[in-house]
């Protein structure tokens, strides 16, 4: 992005008092116009939750942008023991982009490694679309992501990493913008904020309403989601908009949990859910 070069001020014409201000104004206007041009023609994919989409630019997740999803601390304030919820939310968002290959880049952790498990991911997208890449070094991971963003036929690129490299983030963001392919960074722990991402989400798993022990309520996951950064989006009335959402594996539906039901047991919102007759669970 162009900045005001010193020789603008140094030029004899601009040196005159009256000219400096208009020059600066013109500069600012040009920057703003560049910005608006950049924004027009952008595409977004709705998340499927109306209250969230209302805040996001173009009513959804921008396709050519960098999105960050980090695992938030547990309700008690301790570091979450795992990022299963953040991964679920990321997969849920990625599944909305398509068709095409999903490039999933990660750094292996040796014997303690817990790679994403396709039978669960199949709730959000067909794992046959996945191209799994393991890179030992951070720079290889970012390189692979960038290559993926530039390749034709790629629906989305996701990188699982703890590394927070501002340069790499900026490069990813530019590559995503240029090619109109979304890039996701999935962080197992909260990372220092990076200004380049368009949205940053913090996801923590939330306790399900207490039921009698042993009573199965399968396929429901509750996440506490915070939208910590929302570039180009509509400012929220709250300082840090957050929602309690529920994923129902039976109905394939992600919905905000109504305030009234936060702590109480109750049936899933089957009335508004999109039921899928093809998908029936075998019991037994």
């Amino acid at each position: 992005m162009s900045v005001i070069s010193p020789n603008v001020l140094a030029s004899p014409a601009a040196n005159q008092q009256g000219q400096v201000l208009p020059t600066l104004r013109e500069q600012v206007r040009r920057l703003e116009r560049a910005h608006s041009i950049q924004r027009t023609g952008r595409m977004a994919v709705p998340t499927g939750i109306a209250t969230i989409d209302a805040l996001l630019p173009e009513g959804g997740m921008l396709t050519g942008a960098l999105h960050e999803i980090e695992a938030g601390p547990a309700p008690s304030g301790r570091i979450a023991s795992h990022d299963g919820a953040a991964l679920g939310f990321a997969a849920c968002l990625i599944g909305r982009f398509g068709p095409g290959t999903i490039l999933w880049c990660r750094q292996p952790l040796g014997t303690l490694d817990a790679p994403p498990y396709a039978p669960a991911l199949s709730a959000w997208f067909d794992p046959a679309r996945l191209l799994m890449v393991t890179a030992r070094r951070e720079e290889d991971l970012f390189w692979a992501m960038e290559e993926g963003l530039r390749a034709p036929g790629i629906a989305a690129v996701l990188g699982e990493t703890r590394a927070a490299d501002p340069t790499a983030g900026r490069r990813l963001s530019l590559a995503a913008e240029k090619n109109g392919v979304p890039a996701f960074l999935l962080r197992p722990q909260p990372a220092p904020p990076q200004s380049v991402c368009t949205t940053r989400w913090r996801v923590a798993s939330a306790a399900l309403p207490s039921t009698a022990p042993g009573l199965a309520d399968p396929g429901i996951a509750r996440w506490h989601i915070e939208l910590r950064r929302n570039r180009f989006g509509t400012p929220s009335t709250e300082e840090m908009p957050s929602w309690l959402v529920e994923w129902n594996d039976e109905t394939h539906h992600l919905a905000v949990v109504p305030q009234a039901r936060h702590g109480s047991a109750g049936p899933s919102p089957a009335g508004i859910a999109r039921t899928d007759p093809n998908r029936q669970r075998l019991v037994g």
């Binding site: 303690l112 396709a118 039978p119 669960a120 306790a207 399968p218």
Partner: protein, 506 residues
């Protein structure tokens, strides 16, 4: 004494002499220890360099650099040694002479070029060319006149006749007997009846003679499999700039792709070799997951690798070869579509190109697809397959997942042992300790019982006994008081059960 130079030979020294004997003959003898490993490496380097003439280069199997000493510690073959050391290289230059000139003149030029170039690198060598490896071997070592080193077509019988029998590559005992019998020249053997010769000396003399004369084929085993497709580009002036190398590569690639197209195949592997002016060779290769003969795509793959090549002081020759080709399985070659080169490929092609590029830097095992497997053991359901494998049919995963209970979003590579507190041995867990952290369980789903697959052998290769109950795992999805959801299982008989953590749920 392993090897001698020309001066030592002139002074009357012979190989296999004892050093003390040699010193009595030549008191001021200069010696150096034998470093057979280093010698061998040097010979390999020269062999690499010789690839510039033909892909079919072999180390002389009888050379001292390779031949193993026998039980007595003596080298069985080529006792006489030749010129200097015993090390030798065999080059099959059939059909390679045309690069240097017409017919015989070209082959002569090739030979001269080889000797001159080696001399420029300070190697003293003698090279002979003949129709058979045996004849060339004998000529290189025992020919007396320079002119005899090139044996014209079908001329080996006359060329070999005046040479000593040592040139036949015989075992030492046979050689010694021959000499005692007065058979000194190879020509002396021509007239002898074959049957008594074979009875007395075994097969070797006749086989060697026939091989040298071309009556019997002698296979030469090349050091590397000669590629069926290769192109070469020699430069009048050594080049060194990366742009020049890239331009040369693209020219070679264009020529190679034409060859591949004519043969109806695509390359799975390509190798480029730079022959540097200092005589060393640098090579690098690329692999593709599908047979490929698409020039721009291959060039893109090469783009990554060319940076690794070191032109040194300059490159005088480049050879591009396709060591591995496969039947062309791809679609018909697209019509040239210059302005939409990136978009004319389908989705799948884009992904495979990307995978090839990633695999080149990260390794093939690190760029994979997930493939479902018909199994009900969670860790066996998901496997990985290289990108070149058959793609998974659409919906196969969803079908598989719909038959199972809820699954975790992450599955531990290796289930981790946790200590669990439960009210009764068969009860669901109330609390578990994982990585030194206690988790109080507030919600439980399960158990989901998954029995062992008795039809598969265990890790120790044995099958489960038919009479015994197959071991089963009871899986529970639990939620701790902090909202974290885990996938635990109980393994083993209920009186000695062990608990494992196997995955993290969403």
């Amino acid at each position: 004494m392993a090897a001698l130079n020309a001066h030592a030979r002139a002074a009357g020294l012979r190989p296999h002499m004892r050093l003390a004997d040699a010193r009595t003959l030549v008191p001021d003898l200069v010696t150096a220890g034998v470093e057979s490993e280093a010698d061998r490496r040097l010979l390999e380097a020269i062999a690499n360099w010789c690839d510039r003439y033909t892909p079919w280069v072999a180390l002389d199997p009888l050379g001292a650099a390779i031949a193993e000493p026998d039980a007595d510690g003596r080298l069985e073959a080529c006792s006489a040694g030749g010129f200097g050391g015993d090390a030798g290289l065999l080059l099959d230059v059939t059909g390679c002479g045309h690069l240097f000139g017409e017919d015989e003149a070209g082959e002569r030029a090739l030979l001269t070029d080889l000797v001159e170039r080696l001399a420029r690198h300070d190697f003293t060598c003698r090279a002979a060319m003949a129709d058979t490896a045996g004849a060339a071997w004998a000529l290189a070592r025992y020919a007396e006149r320079q002119a005899d080193l090139f044996c014209p077509r079908h001329g080996q019988r006359e060329a070999l006749a005046p040479l000593p029998v040592d040139g036949l590559r015989l075992n030492t005992p046979i050689l010694e007997t021959f000499l005692k019998l007065g058979l000194r020249r190879i020509g002396d053997l021509y007239a002898l009846p074959r049957a008594p010769l074979a009875r007395r000396f075994g097969d070797q003399p006749l086989t060697r003679l026939d091989q040298a004369l071309g009556r019997v084929d002698e296979p030469i085993e090349p050091r590397r499999v000669p590629p069926a497709f290769r192109t070469r580009l020699a430069f009048a002036e050594p080049i060194g700039r990366p742009e020049d190398i890239a331009a040369a590569t693209s020219r070679l690639l264009a020529a190679l792709c034409r060859q591949l197209e004519q043969a109806g195949v695509g390359a799975r592997k390509l190798e480029i070799a730079l022959y540097r002016v200092d005589g060393s060779v640098d090579r690098t290769g690329i692999g593709t997951s599908r047979p490929n003969r698409d020039n721009p795509r291959l060039m893109k793959l090469f783009g990554e690798k060319l940076g690794e090549l070191d032109p040194g002081f300059g490159v005088e020759l480049m050879i591009l070869a396709a060591p591995e080709v496969e039947e062309w399985s791809g679609t018909q070659d697209l019509l040239p579509d210059t302005d939409a080169a990136g978009t004319s490929f389908g989705n799948e092609d884009g992904t495979i190109d990307l995978a090839d590029r990633l695999a080149l830097r990260l390794g093939t095992e690190n760029v994979v697809r997930l493939v479902p497997r018909d199994s009900h053991l969670p860790e066996r359901v998901q496997t990985t397959a290289p990108i070149s494998a058959k793609p998974v049919p659409e919906g196969a995963w969803a079908r598989l997942a719909s038959m199972k209970g809820a699954r975790p979003t992450r599955l531990l590579q290796r289930p981790e042992l946790v200590s669990v507190t439960a009210l009764l041995p068969d009860d669901p867990p109330r609390q578990f300790q994982w990585r030194r952290h206690a988790h109080r369980v507030v919600r439980v789903e399960g158990p989901e019982r998954l029995a062992d697959e008795w039809w598969r052998p265990r890790s120790n290769g044995k099958y489960a006994l038919a009479s015994s109950m197959p071991p089963a795992r009871d899986y529970y999805r639990v939620e701790d008081d902090d909202g974290g959801r885990f996938w635990l299982f109980r393994d083993g008989p209920h009186n000695a059960a062990r608990w494992f953590l196997h995955g993290f749920c969403a």
